[in-house]
């Protein structure tokens, strides 16, 4: 009995418990509304179904949010990811549109490499502003968020650039081994980032810098390098997401591609349990957060909720998730408290009040 209860407590106390609950509730609601919702079919060797669609559509957001996770873990934020999506998509499409044969695989790969290279430069720009010059991350990346849209417009010359390239289109809607290629790519990037952060000491050092920047400096961590690096990684992730977004529609729109994706990405990171103040991060949590947001969007469309009220609906669910995750709210209304959090706040309180 007692152990049952503490087991249940450990489960509900897990930081991803409530996001999972909300996700399950959303899926259940969809299934009730549309009984075939959960079914997945194999057609022509490809998997089809609403759930597969949700995962495929969330792939760009997952990518952007993964990069954002590292940035936020250092205590920063990257508002420019949406613009970088637009710029990289536009450059790739522009290069392909100038090719004599738009279907040439070599041409497409060159286009991707070129666009990725530009994105890395843009990430380095953010990194220099934040880590070397010391501008606050929200301001530093705001520059590129605003100016980047202009850059994307310059690349596409203000037009919607349409291409007709099968290899490029495959990034968005193609399949590999029965799975949509977008899902495979997102999965591969997620595994790559997980390996880079957890197989090396990058994750630890990022968490250390975000958890206590002063202590990290005194421990000999060169935090400027790490900070620089996470902005570059974030930009690279955004670039791949930009390829997917433009490949989905076979066209590059400097205005619309990746618009407001930074906000969804930040949201996904926060739902995934990474604090905006920096420190411990969870890549799995971020992916879960991105899936939750996409499920929500799909649900809103599927239930024919009018576009005017759909944002409101989204807001209500997001507020609910954030509230049940907030320790203060839970302590007050759910009448239980995470011991670790309580210990920390209790320890810090008198220190601030008695400066002597």
């Amino acid at each position: 009995m007692n152990s049952d209860r503490s087991g249940a407590r450990a489960l509900t106390g897990h930081r991803l418990f409530w996001p999972v609950v909300v996700l399950v509730v959303l899926l259940a609601a969809n299934t009730i509304y549309r009984p075939g919702f959960l079914s997945v079919q194999l057609r022509d060797g490809h998997l089809y179904g609403s759930v597969v669609d949700i995962v495929r559509l969330s792939a760009p957001l997952i990518l952007v949010a993964l990069g954002m996770t590292l940035v936020i873990a250092t205590g920063g934020i990257d508002l420019s990811v949406g613009s970088i999506c637009a710029i990289s998509g536009a450059i790739a499409c522009l290069y392909i549109s100038r090719q004599p044969d738009q279907n040439s695989l070599g041409g497409v790969l060159t286009a991707l490499a070129l666009a990725l290279g530009v994105a890395l430069v843009l990430g380095a720009w953010n990194g220099v502003l934040v880590a070397v010059i010391g501008i606050q991350p929200i301001i530093a990346t705001l520059i590129l968020m605003v100016a980047g849209r202009g850059l994307a417009q310059l690349v596409t010359e203000g037009q919607i650039l349409t291409i007709n390239s099968e290899p490029y289109k495959a990034i968005g809607v193609g399949h590999l081994l029965t799975l949509p290629l977008a899902i495979v790519i997102a999965l591969a990037v997620a595994l790559l980032i997980a390996a880079v952060t957890r197989r090396t000491a990058l994750g630890l050092i990022v968490e250390s810098v975000g958890g206590n920047a002063r202590a990290s400096r005194l421990a000999g961590i060169r935090s400027a390098r790490i900070t620089f690096l996470v902005y570059v990684i974030s930009a690279a992730c955004a670039a791949v997401a930009g390829f997917m977004m433009t490949a989905n529609v076979s066209s590059a729109d400097g205005n619309a591609a990746g618009l407001w994706v930074e906000l969804d990405a930040i949201l996904a990171v926060v739902i995934g349990g990474t604090s905006l103040a920096g420190g411990r991060f969870s890549l799995g949590g971020t992916i879960l957060g991105a899936l939750l947001i996409q499920t929500l969007t799909t649900t809103v469309y599927a239930m024919n909720i009018s576009p005017q009220t759909s944002l409101l609906f989204k807001a209500v669910v997001v507020i609910a998730v954030c509230l049940v995750q907030a320790p203060g709210f839970r302590a007050r209304f759910v009448r239980r408290r995470a011991p670790a959090v309580a210990a920390v706040t209790a320890g810090e309180q008198p220190k601030e009040q008695v400066p002597a």
């Binding site: 090396t200 630890l204 050092i205 968490e207 002063r214 400096r217 060169r222 420190g279 670790a340 920390v344």
Partner: protein, 512 residues
């Protein structure tokens, strides 16, 4: 003065915070026309008392009377309008506004809601003239020196018919000339009949300007004294709380036998200094040597440590590591040369609270290797297990967040963080502060062991007994200046060090 009634009386003030009794039945009397120094070490309760006086904190018990009437301020604004004004240590004015705006912000002279700029400037000039300050009141405050900014803050404070002026560490960022200017103003205001409560760490300044002194220790009142009847030595005794006569000899002999001090020193600081932190000092540390830094809190001990570790950059002198001149631009350079540093500020500068014990322990070594060369998990486990056992860290689970450990165990985790890097010099800033007696002895024993094993240690502590027990050599700091270096032989005891702290270098010449 003594015959008249005090303008302000605080009687039996007590105030607790969770786990801390910050003030325990403290009394304070301020008379019109006096400069009254409030003395005590960090944590003695000076700031809390001031915050009670100005209404920032309420009291658990006790009364405050102003001009014989009991008052209870609910906030600084109310205290100010009743005639109790405060100027805080960090000038909390807006440097981007003009001088006149700063003086009148929040209470600008108005007519029909519109600010009367001419009137404001005129009154600002008149106020500053009272302080013998002739500056352009339209200029940005930030364009003036800190001393002038401090005076502007005082002008703002006395504008409202202040009868009590509280100056909380007003001199900590001023140079000697600026301090003199401030004192001139303080004496003038005193002669005009204002009661000034002066909080400072600097003993000389107390004797230069204060008429009477109230000493606090550990939240209790030690006593109220006339400055000229209280020699500096007695003041230090009262602040530290030990009568020199009854100081017992320590168990164990002082570690006089100096480890091989011949040859090139490990660390050789020559006239190293940093403006407004610590005056240039010279200090050598040899391998296997424990150098103690003694001095009151705020005397510059931490500043010395930070310069030697590169946490702050020196702007004067040079540092040689094994004879090679080395510029410490950041801690990375120092760590690379084999120096480790445990900050006195465990929570803000030591632990990364949400990371585990294991992660906190390997942090410095991992940082030195770079993120591309992770320490293999098996090696991590070996290291962590070894130090968890050697330092008996509790709980012995390396995967709990370090925030959940007690202060003493957190301190041991930080020690382990540096020991894992196998430093040649370990700088320990107050490693035993705020931890229980058992952990304290363990850490002292460890320091002795390490030094016997050839590691040099710079040991900083407010507790003289500790410094005496462990050190081969003791450097004494006073008012941000290294005033003496003593070889810890039989002629050195707590008495002598306290005399140096109280009197400065000049006293050392007198045979004791």
């Amino acid at each position: 003065m003594t015959g008249s009634q005090p303008v302000l009386t605080m009687t039996g003030i007590s105030r607790s915070f969770p786990g801390v009794r910050a003030l325990d039945t403290v009394d304070l009397r301020l008379f019109a026309g006096e400069v009254h120094a409030l003395m005590g070490e960090n944590g003695a309760g000076k700031s809390t008392l001031i915050k009670v006086l100005t209404g920032v904190y309420g009291v658990d018990s006790g009364t405050v009377t102003l001009d014989g009437a009991q008052v209870s301020f609910t906030g600084p604004m109310q205290a100010t309008s009743a005639g109790v004004s405060t100027v805080y240590q960090e000038v909390n004015l807006c440097t981007n506004l003009s001088v006149a705006e700063n003086i009148f912000i929040g209470r600008e002279p108005r007519r029909l809601g519109a600010v009367r700029w001419g009137e404001m400037r005129r009154r600002a000039r008149a106020l500053l003239a009272r302080l013998d300050l002739d500056i352009d009141v339209n200029a940005q405050l930030g364009s003036f020196s800190l001393a002038v900014q401090q005076l502007v803050a005082i002008a703002r404070a006395i504008d409202i018919e202040a009868r009590v002026l509280v100056l909380d560490e007003p001199t900590s960022s001023l140079d000697a000339g600026e301090v003199a200017q401030l004192f001139r103003v303080m004496r003038q205001l005193r002669d005009e009949g204002i009661a000034i409560l002066f909080v400072t760490h600097f003993l000389d300044q107390v004797y230069a300007v204060a008429d009477r002194i109230t000493v606090l220790r550990n939240g209790r009142l030690v006593g109220e004294y006339a400055t000229r009847e209280l020699p500096q030595l007695s003041l230090v005794e009262k602040m530290i709380g030990k009568e020199l006569r009854v100081l017992e000899r320590l168990d164990g002999q002082p570690r006089a036998e100096v480890a091989a001090t011949a040859g090139v020193p490990l660390l050789d600081a020559r006239e190293l200094g940093r403006r407004s932190a610590v005056a240039p000092f010279s200090l050598t540390i040899h391998e296997g040597e424990v150098v103690g830094l003694a001095g009151l809190l705020g005397s510059g001990r931490t500043e010395v440590a930070r310069l030697l570790f590169g946490a702050d950059r020196a702007d004067h002198g040079e540092l040689r590591v094994r004879g090679t001149p080395t510029a410490l631009r950041s801690p990375v350079t120092a760590i690379d040369r084999g120096v480790g540093f445990c900050s006195e500020n465990r929570r803000a500068e030591g632990i990364v609270p949400e990371l585990s014990v294991r992660e906190n322990m390997i942090l410095a070594l991992q940082a030195a290797r770079g993120w591309l060369r992770p320490i293999p998990r098996r090696r991590q486990d070996e290291l962590v297990e070894r130090y968890v056992q050697a330092l008996s860290i509790r709980p012995a689970d390396p995967d709990v967040p370090v925030a959940n450990l007690s202060g003493g165990n957190q301190q041991k985790v930080l020690l382990a963080r540096w020991l894992i890097t196998e430093p040649r010099l370990l700088i320990l800033d107050e490693p035993t502060r705020g931890i229980d007696i058992g952990a304290k002895t363990e850490i002292q024993r460890l320091v002795a062991q390490l030094s016997d094993g050839g590691m040099a240690v710079l040991f900083i502590s407010a507790e003289l007994e500790e410094v005496l027990r462990l050190s081969h050599k003791i450097a004494v700091l006073r008012d941000r200046e290294m005033v003496a270096q003593l070889t810890n032989d039989s002629s050195v005891d707590a008495d002598r060090i306290m005399r140096v702290i109280a009197a400065g270098a000049t006293f050392e010449g007198v045979p004791s």
